[in-house]
Amino acid sequence: MLTPLPTYEDALARFEPVIGLEVHVELGTASKMFCGCATKFGAEPNTQVCPTCLGLPGSLPVLNGAAVESAIRIGLALGCSIADWCRFARKNYFYPDMPKNFQTSQYDEPIAFDGSVDVAVPSAESGGELVRVGIERAHMEEDTGKSLHVGGATGRIHGASHSLVDYNRAGIPLIEIVTTPVIGAGARAPEVARAYVGQLRELLLALGVSDVRMEQGSLRCDANVSIRPRSSAVLGTRTETKNVNSLRSIERAVRHEIRRQAGVLLAGGTVVQETRHWHEDTGVTTSGRVKSDAEDYRYFPEPDLVPVAPEREWVDRLRGTLPEPPHVRRGRLQQEWGCSENEMRDIVGAGALGLVELTVAAGASPQAARKWWLTELARRAKEDGLGLAELPVTPAQVAGVQALVDVGRVNDTLARQILDGVLAGEGEPEEVVAARGLEVVSDDAALGDAVDRAITANPDVVDKIRAGKVAAAGALIGAVMKEMRGQADAGRVRELVLARLS
């Protein structure tokens, strides 16, 4: 685009954004939606396929009961009504990611509809606000195969000579959760989008229905964005941005799309209804598929699958299995841990609520658990471009490291080295301690020798201390710690130094 984008502030001064979010969640069932093929991520291509998910003639789908249970539980957790009776539908299209030439989905009869979630949107000043996001529907469908485009420069379809398809993913149970348009969020629309998906992710995790790994595609978000002049009551033309693979990207993509559309309208153009692709590296969206008559899915009821009509008793029983609602849980944990509102917000914002909870359950104090996850481990996660939950360390291991600190066997420096070892796959904290020899030296004779050497080597410092400048002892303590390669209790070293010089 030749004209420079307006700033976000300028765009917001003229236009009001309206967003809508479509989230696809891959369920964590052992088998696929309509056949018994495994759903393991990362398997060799085309090794988790059978006649049903390959769409071979004569095969018939049979619905996975566990997937229906998950769908109902998700619907209930989102405050939805559960359909008394609903059907699957065929979404007909010709693209090689579905070998049947249709995707089995739900159309006008979703299993769950008309819900809402109160999303906690963090805010620097006020400690956050609750924004109600309406849930239009949550429906069941199946995932598609994965295409690899060959011959193009970027792995994308443009310029590719042919495509290679792996159907392992085809038929994995998918729940699509669609919000109603979010109107009135104003400048905070991008943050609301991010907070909504973040909270949804946490909810799905608490329900135990999916591993919700955005980077592996088990949670995918499409962001619908439109803008309208502040004076207008009519919704603008919307675009649907795909390929948004992290919470941070959702916020960035929505923000960019608001600016881009404002730029188009301010230049006298019109926004085209289309899908757009988000590019994480450049921070922009580019045009994808334009909505046209080619998008005529000719839905009709799936004759091979019988209707789903959940009995009330079943739905009520599933309602009883729902986890504590997020805001109730947050309030309870805040009280149990004695945290301030700000501390809680940091924990929730870092996506560490569950991790801290598990670490505390494994024996660490809330303060220590919070400290490890929000400082050292948060830094590591950032360096490696991972979410906290994806770090190769468990809450129990973090609690194990803290237990070593608590009994005085290691200090904080050594504790960090133990975590290094755990993260590097060297085993449990105790094994890392043994293998790396990381315990503090509490042997007073060995420490005493090191203290004596430090005193001999630093006569000027010794003079200062003797003259009453006790603060100068830090230099001697530092020298001893260095000699002990950090494996000493600094408090004990200080006692020894001062005892010798008094």
Binding site: S31, F300, V306
Partner: protein, 103 residues
């Protein structure tokens, strides 16, 4: 779901052919459209006996809630799965480049 199609026009057939990525010539459209129209018309006769108060039937059997347990059953081997593919590369089905986008 869409309403029953009263008839089928040449334009309908051209549209469906485009969706199905079948390249039909004008002659083929002239030939096929009336044939399909006759088929659809024959099936439409059902609506003469079904009153407006009869809901369309999607499933002939009065069954609901047929589920299977979430248990993994053996899949095909990759060789078996790919045995019918016209072209294979990197243990995947090789297909011509398709214009358009993933769904």
């Amino acid at each position: 779901m869409s309403d029953p199609i009263p008839g089928i026009t040449r334009n309908d057939v051209a549209h469906l052919a485009r969706l199905a990525r079948i390249d039909l010539t004008d002659a083929e459209l002239d030939h096929l459209a009336p044939q399909l129209a006759v088929i659809v018309e024959s099936v439409t006769k059902v609506s003469e006996v079904a009153d407006a108060d009869v809901p369309p039937t999607s499933h002939p059997l009065p069954l609901i809630n047929v589920f299977r347990a979430d248990e993994v059953t053996p899949s095909l081997t990759a060789d078996q799965a790919l045995s019918g593919a016209p072209a294979v590369e990197q243990q995947r089905f090789s297909v011509p480049r398709i214009l358009g986008e993933e769904q």
